[in-house]
């Protein structure tokens, strides 16, 4: 495969739930919910996975993330070669990184940390 396939992004239901719990709720200030929308939580997870170079294995039913809000082509500059080399779509690679990020987040939260501490 020499042409880049865009594809869509999704995460398993479990990760989707995790991400949902990171979305801001004005009535739950004491909870760790720093992101304005699920797509922002997804973007954080994807970035975290990429930064940590950790791809996750997506299993089970997937929940898609709105393509208009997460434009995968914005990240072509990062992943074009990998996608072509590995023969996977850009969306799939982003989703893998997001899943990887979710796993890191999950583990960190379970250890009592907060999600934004993962920036350090």
């Amino acid at each position: 495969m020499s042409e880049l396939i865009i594809g869509s992004v999704s995460v398993p239901q479990g990760s989707h739930k995790l991400l949902t719990n990171l979305v801001y709720d004005k009535n739950k200030s004491e909870e760790d919910r720093p992101f304005s929308a699920i797509v922002e939580a997804f973007r954080f997870a994807f970035a975290l996975g990429y930064a940590s170079n950790q791809r996750g294995k997506r299993e089970g039913k997937a929940e898609t993330v709105a393509p208009r809000q997460f434009v995968v082509s914005d990240y072509e500059v990062l992943f074009r070669e990998i996608c072509i080399e590995e023969g996977i779509s850009l969306g799939a690679l982003c989703s893998d990184f997001a899943q990887g990020g979710c796993e890191i987040i999950k583990a960190h939260l379970e250890s009592g940390g907060t999600v934004l501490e993962l920036l350090e």
Partner: protein, 716 residues
């Protein structure tokens, strides 16, 4: 009243004592004092007035249709003025007598009357103003002697001051009086007719009542204004009263509510007193809840801040790796730029070599010397060309991406670069949120512990509700207190304003004033009607008497038959046809005026001498003679004229009217004397300022301005 004797001292040009004996035994009432101008006729005339009334006025005039006296003459003062002061200045200069004096002796109804008025310096020297003088009047009537004011009353009983102008007639101002008498003047001689009525009580009464009425009307007007102001104030006060009542009613309600709340508060407080431990528990709960509330707010604030900043968090993460990639692409860009430069350089060299090979002529292109081994040289150039083309090909094949591609990639990567400091601010906001959350959770934990503690036998929720209620009531009471105070202050302010406005009362105005005013008005009408009737009756009397005189004096009694004084008190001459004569001569008008004055005097029933200064003015000879003929023939009045030499000639007058003249005098200065007093010689010689009698050598100084009274001989 008949004048018998007059003595004047130091008045006008009369220095020292000068005497006039009026012959009253002859039964003749004509008297004349002749002189040239400036010899003292008018001074004598004024001296008589001063003796009688204590004051002398300059010539009067008609102002606004009414007769008005001139300014009052001073006795002493500025002698440079004209007319100057009355007192003779030389008497003081020469004799040191700062005094002027007039004595009049008269008789009336068989009683002797003596009037003596004197003005004497109180400063011992020549006084400068009238205030430096003592003026005294002594009046003796029969056995009765009176001084000053009392004496003045006696004089005015005989000789009313208000009728003075009918007895002291000044020919100089008579023309003005003619104007007053003539038709067309507003009021005409109404005032004069009123004065001859001699009803001073009535006229003064009217004047006084009018003054009283005017004063009452002013008071009523003033009170009306006051009343209007008071009514306005009362209206404002009434509105204010309503406001005050409403405020008081509201205040009562509020105070009642306050007391009720306070009572309940006190009850509840007493009830809660037995639960001090429980209360302290509740208070602690309240404190913790308040703290929790505050921390919740703080946490929400820090949560919001974190939420706002976290949108860049993913870029921070991406850039951890993308940063290195960006560096690689950036290096690629540098390489491409370097390769392009090298290729460009090689291309230029290739082009040059190609040109050299193509144009090779066997001569050096630099030094133009023949090349020894031309073919070898050309072969070497071709080898160099091949070598360069090989280098170019190698550099071109090294480059994987074009410059455009590299720039695009750099742009795409730059979009992933987070704003400077993002990581730091995100981490700080997260730490803040964490700290706030920790505090809140601590408080929640403490609160839960306190809540779970509970109290034995106490329904803490009920107690809490009551305690909360107590707190609410305390707050309510605290809020109510200033409101009640404000109400009280407001009421106080409005009550002060209410008092200032007179409490809404309208004082009862004195309605009696209106009634009094009305009564005075009615009384005035009656008095004015009465006066009008008297006046009209007098007017007719004056008209009748004046007409009689006029017919006696006028030179054409058949054509000019009388005088008419109309309803407006204006006089006019009536012709034989009974109609008013239009455009009479000035002499006729003068005669008419004199006759009206004579009539006014006669109607007044005052018996007093008549003094007439400059009597012949404006009259022709016939009228002058007729005037003397008529007035000097009167049986009940002395008629004293003060003519100057141009009016009546002394000898002529004495010769013609000697049978009517009681006494006559001539006032002269030494310069007037043409006959020697000592020997009777009538042709003295003038030597400088001295006259000398050629017969007896008697001499007299003609530069002296000192009047001498000379008694003229008249038919006895």
């Amino acid at each position: 009243m008949d004048l018998k004797y007059l003595a004047i001292s130091n008045i006008g040009p009369f220095k020292g004592l000068h005497q006039f004996h009026f012959n009253t035994t002859s039964g003749k009432n004509g008297f004349a004092i002749f002189s040239k101008n400036g010899r003292g006729k008018t001074s004598l005339f004024n001296a008589m007035q001063w003796a009688l009334f204590g004051e002398v006025f300059e010539r009067g005039s008609v102002r606004s249709g009414r007769w008005s006296d001139g300014r009052k003459r001073t006795i002493v003062g500025d002698y440079s003025k004209n007319p100057g002061p009355m007192m003779n200045q030389d008497a003081y200069r020469e004799m040191r007598i700062p005094e002027m004096n007039v004595i009049i002796i008269a008789t009336q109804n068989g009683k002797d009357i003596q009037i003596n008025r004197v003005a004497r310096s109180r400063v011992g020297s020549m006084p400068r103003v009238d205030d430096d003088l003592n003026q005294n009047l002594t009046v003796t009537i029969g056995e009765e002697v009176a001084q000053d004011a009392k004496g003045q009353e006696l004089v005015e009983n005989l000789f009313p001051n208000e009728l003075r102008r009918f007895f002291f007639i000044d020919g100089e101002s008579l023309e003005e009086y003619v104007d007053l008498v003539k038709a067309g003047q507003v009021g005409g001689i109404k005032d004069d007719v009123e004065s001859v009525l001699r009803l001073p009580a009535l006229t003064r009464g009217i004047s006084d009542l009018e003054n009283i009425r005017s004063s009452i009307e002013k008071e009523i007007a003033s009170e009306s204004r006051e009343k209007r102001i008071m009514e306005k104030s009362a209206s404002e006060a009434q509105s204010l009263q309503i406001e005050i009542n409403e405020l008081k009613s509201n205040l009562e309600t509020k105070e009642r509510n306050f007391e009720k709340t306070k009572s309940r508060y006190n009850d509840l407080e007493a009830e809660l007193k037995g639960f001090s431990e429980a209360i302290s528990h509740i208070k602690e709960l309240e404190r913790l809840r308040a703290q929790k509330e505050a921390l919740s707010t703080a946490l929400k604030r820090s949560s919001d801040a974190r939420y706002n900043l976290s949108s860049n968090a993913w870029m921070v993460l991406i850039w951890k790796r993308a940063d290195a990639l960006y560096g690689e692409v950036s290096e690629q860009q540098n390489n491409i730029q370097s390769s392009n430069y090298q290729i460009d350089l090689i291309n230029r060299k290739i082009d040059k070599l190609k040109d050299e090979i193509e144009q090779s002529t066997g001569f050096c292109s630099h030094c133009e010397q023949p090349i020894v081994d031309a073919e070898d040289h050309k072969s070497r150039l071709k080898r160099e060309l091949l070598d360069l083309e090989s280098q170019q090909s190698t550099i071109s094949s090294d480059s994987g991406l074009s410059m455009n591609e590299v720039i695009t990639r750099m742009g795409d990567l730059a979009k992933l670069n987070p704003p400077t400091g993002s990581k730091k601010t995100i981490i700080e906001s997260n730490e803040n949120w964490l700290e706030d959350r920790r505090k809140l959770l601590n408080i929640i934990e403490t609160l839960e512990k306190e809540e779970s503690r509970g109290l034995e036998g106490v329904d803490s929720s009920e107690l809490g509700a009551k305690h909360e209620q107590l707190g609410q009531m305390r707050t309510t009471l605290r809020r109510m207190e200033p409101v009640i105070d404000e109400f009280k202050q407001n009421i106080k302010r409005k009550e002060t304003e209410f008092k200032r406005l007179g409490g809404g009362k309208i004082s009862m105005l004195n309605h009696k004033k209106n009634n009094t005013n009305s009564t005075i008005g009615e009384l005035l009408n009656v008095m004015k009607d009465t006066l009008a009737k008297y006046r009209d009756s007098a007017r007719k009397d004056v008209e009748r008497v004046a007409s009689e005189s006029f017919r006696n004096v006028i030179n054409a009694p058949e054509a000019l038959t009388g005088i008419k004084i109309d309803q407006n008190f204006n006089g006019s001459i009536v012709g034989a046809d009974g109609r008013k004569v239009t455009m009479p001569s000035s002499g006729q008008e003068m005669t008419m005026t004199l006759c009206i004055m004579d009539a006014l005097r006669r109607v007044s029933n005052v018996s007093a001498p008549i003094f007439f200064d400059t009597p012949g003015r404006s009259l022709d000879d016939d009228h002058k003679k007729a005037q003397l003929e008529y007035f000097w023939s009167m049986r009940n009045h002395q008629f004293i004229i003060f003519p100057h030499s141009g009016e009546y000639k002394i000898e002529e007058t004495i010769n013609e009217f000697g049978g009517l003249i009681g006494s006559a005098w001539e006032l002269t200065w030494p310069a007037d004397r043409e006959v020697c007093e000592k020997c009777g010689e009538d042709s003295p010689l003038k030597e400088g300022s001295v006259m000398r009698c050629l017969k007896c050598e008697e001499k007299w100084d003609i530069s002296i301005r000192e009047t001498t009274v000379k008694v003229l001989e008249v038919e006895s």
